[in-house]
């Protein structure tokens, strides 16, 4: 280790590692999806010759953006009171609520889609209180699904902002005469505005890019990713066209939100003391908290876990023993499960190896202005629809290196999708550490690698584990890109196939398949959580 420490102080080695991280980022993550589209640029002509196809494509793109904007606004509006409740409540029960808010994270999105379909559409569930199907597959169910899987992300981001934020600002406002609602509106939201914008962007990006779960609840409805999925084999030009529009418009919307968001003035000047005072105290607060909890339980939590119910039903039947004995179609299922988890583990390790140096470059601005540019570029894979990313990657790698094994394509696709999550969370953790700690360590004789081992890593390991957990869950639940990039079947892909009735399976089997996936994901996450519990929080 001492040798490595010494080696790390050599500028050639140090900058060699950083340079390798940058090169790998461009070569594996950023350029392939973009070039994949450019390679097939010429095929786009076909869509302009087919008026119906063009209209269908544009309609799908419009659907994507309308739903993404609508859902992101709703997510932030519903997520803020929940985050407030978690961050500000002194109740001992709040820890349980805090943990429950994370539950939808562990449900793979394809399972989540199926779960919502069962909950809202199946006549034997809530629908029986209304009519045959309360919400049939279509635009509304897609919006509801996107709301459900983005909600925990939004809540987590805003809770983080509220916990990091100095409570003294609120106390100062209160001592100056502002009731709690005025304080939140004029002071708190003004200060955490960047986090509100970040939450909006994340919800928007997830909605634009989600494919697998959307397919389960879309019915005849088409948004961008579903259009790509439906046409990727038959109309390559249409796929390239829609991918391009989604990427370009997403980038433009992101840029606009970032620029305009910073200039956006929240209404901090006006004050309505009488009204806001009335809305600040017990009755109004109780009503607000009740609505918040109702939304969380009825729209997010219970529908997310609903797919697990048929699994319980299946246990006493022969479906369960059939599943364990791996006869058709379960042989496929277990193989896909092994592929999913080993893929998740591989992608997590690769992310740590190539994402960590990038996080340091971004956080510590190792390459000056270029670091700021990298900081922006790192986010791009988040906004590319996962199915579009899969299609582009397949086009790029198959054109460039036709012999490349499918499993590598799969790894590259998952790496591109998960990379921003890891780099973002690590960069934020490193930024939070005072540079003076690193400098102090250097002045005491530590070489750069030793500084990382003894100072940076112990202080950021919780974030590193959290980032790794995010990468792992995202990879295990990814469906759209997986289906687009290869014929290999991960567990969510198999489940989508079952639900879409590509092979004949009973609802009980689908429920059991979803149940196994949720259970195993939950056990792995619980184990990781137990390992990292209490570590690295300083």
């Amino acid at each position: 280790m001492e040798k490595l420490d010494r080696l790390s102080s050599k500028p050639t080695v140090k900058y060699g590692v950083y340079l390798a991280a940058v090169v790998l980022f461009f070569a594996l993550i950023l350029i392939p999806p973009i070039l994949g589209i450019i390679i097939k640029w010429g095929t786009m002509g076909e869509i302009f010759g087919d008026v119906d196809l063009l209209a269908r494509a544009l309609n799908a793109v419009r659907n994507s953006f309308v739903i993404a904007v609508f859902v992101s606004v709703l997510d932030v509006a519903a997520g803020v009171p929940m985050a407030w409740l978690i961050a500000r409540s002194k109740s001992k029960w709040i820890n349980i609520l805090d943990t429950l808010a994370d539950v939808p994270f562990i449900v793979p999105t394809a399972v989540l889609g199926y779960s919502l379909l069962l909950f809202w559409h199946n006549p034997k569930t809530v629908s029986e209180f209304f009519w045959d199907s309360l919400i049939p597959p279509g635009a509304i169910l897609v919006a509801l699904l996107h709301f459900t899987f983005s909600y925990p992300v939004v809540v987590r981001v805003i809770v983080g902002a509220l916990l990091d934020y100095k409570i003294e600002y609120e106390q100062a406002a209160r001592t100056l005469g502002a009731p709690p609602l005025t304080t939140a509106r004029t002071v708190t939201f003004g200060i955490i505005k960047p986090s509100l914008i970040a939450a909006f962007i994340l919800a928007f990006a997830r909605s634009i890019s989600e494919t697998g779960a959307t397919m389960m609840v879309a019915g005849a409805f088409e948004n961008g990713p579903i259009f790509i999925q439906n046409t990727k084999e038959t109309f390559v030009g249409a796929t390239v066209f829609v991918s391009l529009i989604l990427i370009v418009f997403s980038c433009l919307i992101f840029a606009a939100v970032r620029v305009l968001g910073e200039r956006l003035k929240l209404p901090v000047k006006g004050a309505w003391p009488t009204v806001e005072r009335k809305l600040s105290y017990s009755g109004a607060m109780l009503a607000r908290n009740s609505v918040t909890l109702l939304i969380f339980f009825m729209v997010v939590l219970i529908p997310s876990l609903f797919a697990a119910l048929p699994a319980f039903e299946a246990i006493p039947t022969d479906v369960f023993s059939k599943a364990l004995s791996r006869v058709y179609p379960w042989d496929d299922y277990w193989r896909s499960l092994i592929l999913s988890y080993s893929l998740g583990a591989t992608v997590t390790v690769l992310n740590i190896l190539i994402g960590l140096p990038m996080a340091i470059i971004v956080a510590r601005k190792r390459f000056g202005n270029f670091s700021s540019m990298l900081n922006t570029l790192v986010d791009i894979p988040i906004i590319v629809p996962s199915v579009a990313l899969g299609v582009s990657l397949r086009l790029f790698w198959k054109e460039l290196l036709a012999f490349i094994p499918d499993v590598w394509l799969l790894i590259f696709a998952h790496l591109a999708i998960t990379y921003p999550y890891f780099v973002r969370s690590m960069a934020a953790a490193i930024e939070r550490i005072s540079i003076e700690l690193e400098e102090a360590s250097r002045t005491l004789g530590a070489k750069p690698l030793c500084v990382f081992r003894t100072i940076v890593f112990p202080l950021t390991k919780y974030s590193m584990f959290s980032g790794a957990i995010m990468v792992f869950t995202r990879s295990v639940s990814e469906t759209g890109a997986t289906m687009a990039v290869t014929e290999l079947k991960t567990a969510p892909v198999v489940l989508v196939g079952w639900v879409k009735e590509k092979i004949a399976v009973s609802p009980l089997e689908i429920g059991l398949g979803c149940g196994f996936l949720i259970l195993i994901s939950f056990i792995i996450l619980l184990a990781l959580r137990l390992i990292v519990r209490g570590k690295g929080r300083y």
Binding site: Y169, Q171, A173, T175, A178, W272
Partner: protein, 367 residues
């Protein structure tokens, strides 16, 4: 007009008793300081008065109103935070006029108040500046202006000068007192700096481990400390251990370690009692005399430090106790290291205390 009364106020955080049955009466228009070492509960006490935390027991009155269940926004107070807590997304003007706006004052009135207070703190020319564009002293002024603009008659200051450098701190403390007195406010100022508290306060409460040990004017606390801790915390002192060799109602002869005998004013202690004699560094005189005079002890100069206004001597006494003596540098004789000298003090300038049950070190501990 706001006087503040605390009756048996207690606040616990888990097993820690941060404020322990505190009784205080802060008079209207008084500049009152709460002084004590870190962790003594002084900030907790101020936050209880502000309503930022609620007491577990006891009653808090502002004026005649019991405010235990009144939220901070309805207590009619101004609060200056140690870190200033200026809203980073608002400029100086918006920060200062925040109170009048959220209290529903009409805009003309809010603006008039804003101009007045910014004029008062001499920051009118920086009203467009955001907090990060201001120096520490300026931020502190804006924080005070913001608290004043809310129109409260009770100003609470939580170590408001703690984040400033010494020179700015010395200037601003008098400025704050002047404003408080000009506006006829009641001010409660929390600090751990005894010189700051002495310089600006009408009265001071000294706290230790959640309890108020003594309340009095700066002179009373300095001249007549009621405990070893107060004698040490206000002004500083040398503590010499010994026994009462002889005692009358007014005077006592104390036999220090090594058999050295000195006289001190007696405060009801009896013959044979173990005692601690507190003598402030500045009440000693040093001479080169070789003969023992009244209340004098032989010693050797071990260290000398020139502090500008004063000379600070560390003297090893004949009984091996080490004391500190401070003399005005311009008007005293200078002594060098190793020089044999005699130190003496007037009996009425020494404070005699019974030896603390918990030991002297524990009694003096500030943490």
């Amino acid at each position: 007009m706001p006087d503040v009364r605390l009756v048996n106020v207690t606040k616990r955080f888990g097993k820690i008793v941060a404020v322990d049955r505190v009784n205080l009466h802060i008079k209207d228009k008084e500049y009152f300081s709460i002084l004590g070492p870190s962790g003594c509960g002084k900030t907790t006490l101020l936050r209880l008065i502000a309503g930022l935390i609620a007491p577990d027991e006891g009653e808090i009155y502002i004026g005649d109103r019991l405010v235990n269940d009144v939220p901070p926004e309805d207590r009619d107070i101004g609060f200056v935070f140690q870190t200033f807590a200026l809203f980073p997304h608002m400029n100086a003007w918006e920060n200062v006029t925040y109170g009048p706006r959220v209290k529903g004052f009409d805009m003309k009135k809010a603006e008039r108040i804003g101009h007045e207070v910014l004029e008062m703190v001499r920051l009118h020319e920086r009203l467009d500046a955001f907090p990060h564009e201001l120096s520490g002293g300026m931020m502190q002024r804006v924080a005070v202006a913001r608290a004043l603009a809310a129109g409260a008659k009770l100003l609470l200051l939580d170590e408001p000068l703690g984040h400033l450098d010494a020179k700015v701190r010395n200037e601003l403390r008098y400025e704050i007192r002047r404003m408080v007195k000009d506006l006829e406010l009641t001010a409660i100022h929390v600090t751990h700096d005894q010189s700051e508290a002495m310089a600006i306060s009408d009265r001071i409460a000294v706290m230790k481990k959640g309890k108020v040990l003594q309340v009095g004017t700066p002179q009373e606390l300095y001249m007549n400390p009621k405990s070893i801790f107060v004698a040490n915390f206000i002004g500083g002192a040398n503590f010499l251990e010994g026994f009462i060799a002889e005692a009358t109602d007014k005077m006592a002869i104390v036999e220090l370690r090594g058999g050295v005998k000195v006289q001190a004013v007696n405060k009801g202690l009896g013959k044979g009692e173990r005692v601690v004699l507190a003598v402030r560094p500045e009440v000693f005189t040093i001479k080169r005399e070789k003969s023992r005079g009244e209340n004098s002890i032989f010693g050797v100069v071990e260290r000398v430090a020139f502090e500008g206004t004063n000379l600070r001597y560390e003297v090893r006494l004949e009984n091996q106790d080490l004391i500190v003596v401070v003399m005005p540098s311009l008007s005293c004789e200078w002594f060098s290291i190793g020089e044999k000298i005699t130190v003496s003090f007037q009996p009425e300038n020494a404070h005699l205390f019974a030896y603390p049950e918990t030991g002297l070190r524990e009694e003096l501990a500030v943490e």
